[in-house]
Subunit: 146 residues, 12 copies
């Protein structure tokens, strides 16, 4: 069974408890449960990881990335400056999809630029939790085609 | 039954015949057929429109937009400068999703900036035709929840 | 009797029906009626044109502009990038006044720059429909002085 | 009777005597007389003020602004850098209209940016003395509607 | 016989009647006649097209471009912002030469940048009508060499 | 007894009467009274000055600055462009603290840059009237240490 | 008793041992002792944290921030790029004050911009250790007022 | 006898008493005496003016400028932003020379740009008091040639 | 017989031996022979000059430029920064055409800007050796018309 | 015996296994062995450290840096934004050399700027593993000279 | 007797023969004669040098600069980009004055920036030939004071 | 025996005699002797060249570059603008190493950008004369490996 990593960056552990006008009122646990249910339907296996540490995300990408069939990453604030995570994604060469819960293009100027996008297959933003589901379906669709 | 507009901008009528390394080898007709099939499964109705004319796209948005339940738009090159289309989307106030076939963030500098994104719910790019399917599923998911 | 063109650009056909907090709740038809009434008082003749198409506006400027005694144009979103309309105004050499309903300088950054202004006599913005009346009075005042 | 302040900034006391190709050959006295005549017709009262000193203009705005029904200001060169005048206009909260005799958008680059515009109702430029008359008519039109 | 498209953008239909200090006093008809005569000598066939509409130019490029042996285009004001025409030229893959009547580099700043140049073989500017003849000769020279 | 100047720039004479959501509802007089009370406790003497005129502030700095033991200045809008006040502070060489009532970094872009800061000991912003008290305590603490 | 977190960012553990011309010759331990003494007088309780790791600071903010009554943070070099810490401060919604020991506006260009300031109540810089005391007094003053 | 105005801007009244490493240890009085002596030799009459107020300098330029044969101005900090003084110099149309005591191009970035230079005959900087003498000699040389 | 200078800048002596993918495989000698042949047909006389030294090119322009009837110059890398060559062309006032072998607009960013273009009649780029022939024909066409 | 730290930043643990076209096919272990061998010859002692965590690198610099005689650091992606590592190097005051395996100036734009360079003795880039050897030899040469 | 070098850069050998509206109608020979005469009066010796070659100017600066008592340089177009001449002036450490015949600040944008100014004592521009005389008098005045 | 060119740019002939705080007190002759000695040990042959003329450096690169096995170049000030030297290095296709004596990244802003680096193998800066030795060793190491 294909394996997909679901990686969430800094502050996303607080999902559902704060700034719910921007990020919605469901928590990270619920996100993971929703995705697990969908993964079951799509016959794909998921591994979840969240960290507020750039270094830990890179370590995780190194450790789990090469063997995975796909990566879904929401780098949160690291999106805008972590060239180190960008290089990690380039290095492991597993197809990666970037997801953002909110529409980063209708928020502060600094959120309009992603240093991660150029090394991903694509980017999905603005659809809340459903963005992760989109990415998951995309991978399932690819795996089916192989 | 909910109605979704699928609007494609300039040069997308040439899909499948040219620059197939970037845009794939399937044509606009096939895209529409694939989407129609999916729409049938999702019990949503689609209306297709493609034009190379900014004015025609605005006219279409004015005519069909207000009554529609959702809009999927790939503004192609207009993405980067058509404030007129941006204003049209703002004016009609129907939820709109922006889709790009290629990852615009790994191409030329001028493609990195969308003047359309800030008035859409969200953006999907880099997933080929599947990006439209994602947008369609998103709307179906919302309609279901209503 | 002197003839003045009143040209409105993209999305202004929607006046009065949408985004009424910014543009007011009166429609384009009412604007034209108000202006016609004032034109009658000022003994000036008006010709109205609205289009969402840059090319059609240029065609209209070419066709009606040279014979007209003045032009009032609200280029709407084209204000910010249509060098083609700018060149059309330069080419026909009829005095032109630029009008905006809202104060473009207190809205989004991209609305602060007009590529049309340098080839017009002047600019009026922020006075709602009254801005058109101002422009009309200005022309009537000039014609009177001739 | 409604009261409107007419405030002219630095060097406008020289109107009519110098650089008449840009500013015309009528002096500030004539401008004020023309406006007074119009004000009489419109049943509005005017108070005139001109100064080359930023501080004096602010003092005047503080002293006369709050009680006035409208302000017409041509900040001249202060347009481009006097955040202090901008803050004064914000502070007194009386509706203000910005007027320029010449078309500031067809002159030197530094004249294209007004730091005053965002706190005014609107801006009028390029119509010579007639721009002040436009502003005055605008206020009269508003007062009538009250 | 090889076929070359000669496409002229917005406002070039006014050639010879206005702004003759910049663009000369010969009209578009005379340009086309001169080029036809030269084409006869060079044993090349020409098709002429002029439009003020970006969309119509793209439609024409799609319709006539793929079968043509070469394209000569003067995009006029579209030179500076029409990424849609740029994409159309890329898409049809017929060799294209960009021509400007005036020297765009000695005029306003905004005319110094062409978004079309990077997808053309080359650019010719500043030689009046003769620039079109240069482009035509270039294509004839290539065809001869084949 | 050590003497500290408390200098307030343009529009701060309106404190407490306008824009009270940003600047609070207490006036300049109350500010000065609060500071005087604190100064009494700290055994420091204060001199107050407010002006809307850049030149008067410079004159005051020249006249009172050299003999003073410290300066607390809120340059208000002059913060962002008065290199003349900056030079005055450099010239008199008395230690100076810059205070802002609101957090200038969470307001308009132009307020983010202070041309005064580089010649002050430090900057305090965002704490309302309390910011002045902080500055006063800082000086008192220094004087004590001498 | 109200609780305030005192968080110091990277390299501040070296305080007092190096670059003493910029940061003074007292160490972090002495800073904490001084603050503790002041906190005792003000009847406020402090919790200290220092880390060179962005992730650890975010974790600490998540763990201790929501229950705290106020946060004093000197983000050191993270000031200039850590959008992740910024988002953490936004997320926990506890009032936060930014402190810098040196005057960041009279040092290298890159130190002039804080990405943290816009989500804090205010900023204090340039007063050495005394800046922390100012922030502490500010909170004590607020708590007293509640 | 020809009359030349010698105008010094803000903070130059402090010459000789402060920042003597940059501006030298001679005062404004000595400068004026030196210049008077030279003027006597050159048979030119001088009028001296110094002010820290932008408005006063403009008033002085208006009052004395038109009748003068030449103006020597050191606008000090106003050099970098006073478009009002620039406009005053343009308006009075008397030949003006800009002088700076220090070399403004080897100091802070903001001092490198003069908004005054484009409306002066020329600029002299970096020669201390001698720069004024240069300007004076220049005018004397011109007057001689007339 | 009219005389035209053909001036080639730095590194063009290496034509045909290196980087043949960009510049073609024919050498400078062949270029000159081809042009001489064409000049013979057009009854124009040519003088060739190539140098890697900016100073030598200026000297040559001074020596031969004023007497020549036209100049064809490929300034190569000097195109992008030699204001000295630009000034030389301005000074000698002989009509000059700028030629580039490759399309400078589809290469590195720094090649997009020519400091030479504004003082030339026009620019030709992207047509290989044929660009020189175009320029030569252009001059012959002008001379014929005289 | 002198001690030199060899510190490698994020993703360099993957050396030799991925992106071998850029970074070569030898691993970090081989790099360290090569350097150890060279260090033996040069009679210098090495300590190796690699981490993907900015905080851990700073901690290591604090712990081992002050006692070391020299530091060789390849900050990898941190090169471009880690002002925290920059400050750590400044703080410990041990001479530091920056090394990059690839030529960062011929890669993506963002890699052209190092925030670390200004606080190092020098920079070496583009020589593969040999760059570390160069740095090592440099230190050995210095130590010899002491 | 003190020796001063008078160095003129590219195209200044053409003085008096061309572009006389900008540079006047007197030639370099006359400039040198005028300066020689003045030098005689001032009891200073002059050495003249003009070259269109950057390298030759540097060679001359190296050869004659160190022994000279002062340098007057008009670097002409090299003013704007020759960091090599700048470094030469820094290297020889003889006091240098930069002179321009025209007012470089009222001409094209690129002429507003001098890379030479920061290493000179001062700059004189806009006074025609008289600017050189000013510089010469300045040096004579200094020598006298020694 | 392999041949390496050692090319030094403008002002480096003055090494050891001036600005010794930046460049050290050893002269170019000593540098060459040191390198010759090292070259002898490494069994490599060196050719030295220094010039203050850009054109001469290009000529030398053309003449000696193609036959050489490696080039060590310190372009000095030409580093920052000589696209002509850059093109020469590209053209001759011999591996080239860029060396700077000082750390260009800790000096003036304009020295931070090298237009030469992108066409070299790598860059070494900040190590004084030792930087040349590093480059020489690098080439020797490569030649050995062949």
């Amino acid at each position: 069974m294909s394996v997909i990593l679901v990686i969430n960056g800094p502050n996303l552990n607080l999902l559902g408890t704060r700034q719910t006008d921007i990020y919605g009122d469901k928590g990270l646990k619920e996100l993971n449960e929703e995705l697990s249910k969908l993964a079951g339907q799509l016959e794909v296996s998921l591994k979840f990881f969240q960290s507020n540490s750039e270094g830990d995300i890179i370590d995780y990408l190194h450790k789990e990335g090469p063997a995975a069939d796909g990566i879904i990453i929401n780098p949160a604030a690291f999106t805008h400056y972590s060239y180190a995570i960008r290089d990690a994604i380039s290095a492991i060469e597993t197809e990666t999809v970037e997801v953002h819960i909110s529409n980063i293009f209708s928020r502060e100027e600094f959120r309009h630029k992603s240093v991660i996008s150029p090394v991903c297959s694509g980017q999905i933003c603005g659809f809340g939790f459903y963005g992760y589901a989109m990415a998951l379906s995309y991978f399932a669709d690819i795996f089916k085609g192989k």
